[in-house]
C-alpha cells in the first residue's frame, strides 16, 4: 500500500479529530434502531399508497406499468373507511419525523465517512459505494417527500416516478445495510453496561480516542433526538389526526389556521366555469352495449335514493378530514347504466385542466355500501371547490381519485 500513507493526513481523517464522548456504536445502534422503525413504517405505507392508486386499472398508473417493481398491487379495498387516511397520514408524519432521526444518525457515524485508510480492497470500496447510495437515497427521499408534501416543487423531474424508484433504491440499500450491520448491532447491545475510561475506545471505531469535555451525556443526545422528533411530529401530525391537534400543527399546510375541510385543488385552478357546472350540466352514463347513453340532470340524481355517510377525504400529502356526505350510491348508478355487475368504472371530470381529471375505480369501490357520487356535504350542496355538482367519495380511496366535477361515469 505504497500509494496511501499509513498515517492519516491532518484533519477529519485523524481518529482524534472527532471528539464527542457521546459517540459510540451503542449510541448509533440505538438511534439506528429507532430510525429503522420509522423507515419500515414509511416504506410500507408508501408502497401501500402505490397500491391504493390501483395502477392496474385504466390509466391510473403513474409509473410505467411494465417497469413497476411492485409485486403487491392487489385490488385496493373500499374499507375500513379510515384506511388510506391512516396509512398516508403515517407515511407523511413518520417521513417528516425521519428528518431529525436521520440527522442524529449521521452525526453519530460521521467519523466513519472519513475513516483512514480509504478502502484498500475492492470489497471495502464496494461497501463505501453502498453507503453512498444509502445516504444519498435517504436524503433524496426525505428531500423530495417533504418538499412535495409542503407544496414546493423545486425540481425538473417527475416527482412520482423519482420518489417511487428512489424508494426502491433506498429500501434495497437499507436492507443491505441492516444485514451487514447486524453483527455490530448485536455486539453493541452486549456492551451496553460496559464502562470504559474516557479515551479508551475498546476497539469501537465510533468511540473517540481523544474525548473533549463531557458536555452532554449519551442520554442527553438521545433525549434531544426525541425532543426534536416530538417537535416535528407535533408541528405536523394534526393535519392527519384532525380534532384539536390540527391547531397545534403550526407548520403543516393543512394544519393550524387552515380550514378543517381543506381542498387539494380549487375550481379556479382546474378551470371550472359556470357553463361547465351550471344548469346545463348533465351526468352521462354511456351504455357499454353501444346504445344511447343515460343522461341525468342534478334533479334526476336528487330524485334517486340518497345515502348519507361520514367518510374521510384523505390526501396523498398526508392530511385528511372527516365530513358527512350525501349522494347516490355508485352501485345504483351502475344498475341505472344497465351494468349492475360492473367490474370497473372510468370516471371523467368536466374539468379542463389537471392530472386527475379522470380515474378508474374497481369492483370494490363500485359495490361498496358507502361508495357514493356525492351531491351534498354536511347537509348543504357541495361548494364549487369541493366538486359541485357531483363528486366521487368512496371509503379508503385516495383523495385524488375522489374525482370532483364528475361529468361521465363509464361502467364496464
Amino acid at each position: 500500500m505504497g500509494l496511501i500513507p499509513d498515517a492519516p493526513p491532518p484533519g477529519p481523517t485523524r481518529p482524534g479529530f472527532w471528539r464527542s464522548p457521546a459517540r459510540s456504536t451503542w449510541t448509533t445502534t440505538l438511534i439506528g434502531s429507532v430510525l429503522l422503525v420509522a423507515i419500515v413504517v414509511v416504506a410500507t405505507t408508501g408502497f401501500l399508497s402505490h397500491a391504493a392508486y390501483q395502477p392496474d386499472l385504466g390509466r391510473n398508473a403513474l409509473v410505467p406499468r411494465e417497469k413497476d417493481l411492485q409485486l403487491l398491487v392487489f385490488g385496493w379495498p373500499a374499507g375500513p373507511s379510515w384506511l388510506y387516511a391512516m396509512t398516508q397520514g403515517a407515511h407523511v408524519t413518520f417521513g417528516l419525523a425521519m428528518v431529525p432521526l436521520l440527522l442524529f444518525k449521521l452525526w453519530s457515524v460521521i467519523p466513519r465517512l472519513f475513516a483512514w485508510p480509504p478502502p484498500t480492497t475492492p470489497a471495502a470500496a464496494l461497501s463505501k459505494l453502498a453507503n453512498g447510495l444509502l445516504v444519498g437515497s435517504a436524503l433524496f427521499q426525505l428531500g423530495t417527500g417533504l418538499t412535495n408534501a409542503q407544496l414546493f416543487y423545486p425540481w425538473h423531474f417527475n416527482f412520482v416516478v423519482a420518489h417511487y424508484y428512489g424508494a426502491w433504491l433506498f429500501v434495497a440499500s437499507v436492507a443491505l445495510h441492516v444485514a451487514t450491520q447486524l453483527p455490530a448491532m448485536r455486539e453493541a447491545r452486549r456492551t451496553r453496561g460496559e464502562i470504559l475510561a474516557l479515551g479508551d475506545t475498546g476497539g469501537d471505531p465510533l468511540r473517540t480516542p481523544n474525548p473533549g469535555p463531557t458536555t452532554i451525556t449519551r442520554r442527553g443526545v438521545l433525549g434531544l433526538m426525541g425532543a426534536s422528533t416530538g417537535a416535528v411530529v407535533l408541528g405536523s401530525a394534526g393535519q392527519a389526526v384532525g380534532g384539536p391537534l390540527r391547531d397545534l400543527a403550526l407548520f403543516a399546510p393543512r394544519g393550524a389556521g387552515s380550514d378543517d375541510f381543506p381542498v387539494n385543488k380549487t375550481a379556479k385552478v382546474a378551470r371550472i366555469t359556470q357553463e361547465l357546472v351550471g344548469a346545463s350540466w348533465r351526468l352521462e352514463l354511456p351504455s357499454p352495449s353501444g346504445g344511447p347513453p343515460v343522461v341525468l340532470s342534478r334533479a334526476d340524481l336528487l330524485a334517486m335514493p340518497q345515502h348519507t355517510h361520514a367518510l374521510p377525504i384523505a390526501c396523498v400529502e398526508g392530511w385528511s378530514s372527516m365530513q358527512t356526505w350525501t349522494g347516490v350510491r355508485l352501485a345504483d348508478l351502475a344498475a341505472r347504466a344497465g351494468v349492475p355487475e360492473a367490474q370497473t368504472v372510468h370516471v371523467v371530470s368536466v374539468q379542463p385542466a389537471g392530472a386527475f381529471k379522470q380515474t378508474t375505480l374497481g369492483h370494490a369501490q363500485i359495490h361498496a355500501d358507502r361508495g357514493l357520487l356525492a351531491l351534498q356535504v354536511n347537509g348543504a350542496d357541495l361548494s364549487l371547490d369541493h366538486g359541485y355538482p357531483a363528486r366521487i367519495i368512496v371509503p379508503a380511496l385516495p383523495g385524488v381519485h375522489c374525482t370532483k366535477w364528475v361529468g361521465r361515469l363509464e361502467f364496464a
Partner: protein, 178 residues
Amino acid sequence: MSAPADRPTLRRPWRWWGAGPAHLIGHLLVIAVAAFALSVMFEERFAPRPWNLLLWLLGGAVLHDLVLLPAYSAVNIAAGRLLGADHERAVPILNHLRVPAVLSGVLLLTFAPRILDGQPQNYERALGHAPPDYLGRWLAVTAAFAVGSALVYVVRRLRADRASPDRSAPAGAAERSR
C-alpha cells in the same frame, strides 16, 4: 460501514477481494436494483433535465456531510470556546443554548418549504387562500424555546445557589456529584 471481514479468515480466492461471497452477492443485488431504478428515473420523459435529477440525488449527501454538519460542529465549538470552562460552572450554560438551537434548527430544516415559502403561489392555487405566516410562527416558536430554556436555566441556577449559599467560588462539585 462495517469493515468487510478480516482478510486472514477468508478463504484464499476471496482474500484479495476483501470479503466473503455473501458480501459480494448482497452488493450485486443492491447494485442491480439501483441500476434499474435509476434507469427509469432518468428516462427522458420523466427527467427532461438529467443534471437536475443528478444534482438532487447527490446534493443532499454533499450538502449534509460537507456543509451542514461542519457548520453546526463549528458553531458548537465556537460556543464552547466562548463559554470557557463551562462544564465547571455550577449550572453549565452550553446545553441551554444547544437544546433550543437544535429544536428550532430541526423545525426550520424540516418545514423550510413552508417557512421560507419559495413558491407562495402553490399554496394559494391548492387551498384557495393565502398561506398563514409560517415564518412568523417559526420565529415565535424559536423565541418560546429560547425563553423556556433561559427560564429553566434561571431556576436551576437559583436552586444551585440555594444548595450552597456560602460557597466562595462557583465550583461545580456539588452539582456534579449528584
